[in-house]
Subunit: 148 residues, 2 copies
Amino acid sequence: MAHSPKRKLFLDLVRAIFRINGLLLADGDRMAEGVGLTSARWKVIGIIALSNAGVTVPGIARALGQSRQAVQRITDVMQIDGLVSYATNPRHKRSVLVQLTDQGQQVYHALRTVQDPWAIGLTDDVPVDELESALRLLQRLIFRMEKP
Amino acid sequence: MAHSPKRKLFLDLVRAIFRINGLLLADGDRMAEGVGLTSARWKVIGIIALSNAGVTVPGIARALGQSRQAVQRITDVMQIDGLVSYATNPRHKRSVLVQLTDQGQQVYHALRTVQDPWAIGLTDDVPVDELESALRLLQRLIFRMEKP
DNA sequence: GTCAGGCTGACTCTATGTTGTCAATCTGCT
DNA sequence: AGCAGATTGACAACATAGAGTCAGCCTGAC
């Protein structure tokens, strides 16, 4: 059984991914809490902030690898809360662009003041090349899982 | 800014973890579907099968890093479906042990016949040492996130 | 033995996310 | 221009997961 240890290794990796996913959501909730957000909005606002021109709801969903319905619900609530606004999309009549309002940008900036030290603190003693190789491995797995 | 690239690298890793978590759940649903399970029950049945003597519901929750309420709901449904049974715990009067029934073991076995080729296929051309180092990195991050 | 603190089961509420469906719109090909 | 297929918004049903609460049981220190 040449692949048996590899199989166990992979399943351990799967369990670790489930575990760290939960921990990341918990940390996201904790960080976002201070500025009145949740981890789901934390994920969404990060994608919106990355794109200057504004993105569509399905675009955010594709970036996160989630269903557009889930993202739509998040952005709808964030629009009610005044964090994002819907702007007409010159390239698509129905699909509006999601943009950060001034308040949304302030919230994102406040988020960064918590998120950056968090990211730095967690990777304090982790070499860059280890991060790189782990990221490459995950992206490789993602690619293989997305194809079929 | 010596740590700026590392910060971006880590955030990319976070995004990859969110992405692969969703893909793993989708694959888990797809594999578990054939034997009448869902990805949540797939995760739970794996933990139960790993322990011969039976585990408590909070024990499963700790192994998965989830709330015991979430696990309790899963095991309750699985008990109704006849996959698991609750046995009295000699070491704790109220906290019962969750065990696989014969049917549960059959389902787990059927699951393995799908899951093992899946695991092997995904890691086909991935060197063992890359899996090991990625797993170590994630476990290191998990350890740091669990402490506080 | 006793008792404080921790663990567990049961319940509720809320948030998140997937799937399915339908109509309206868009895109690319002819 | 016109049409087939893909994309999008809107809505609904369902599964999953966390947080909070309460009462009952258990454990360990004394």
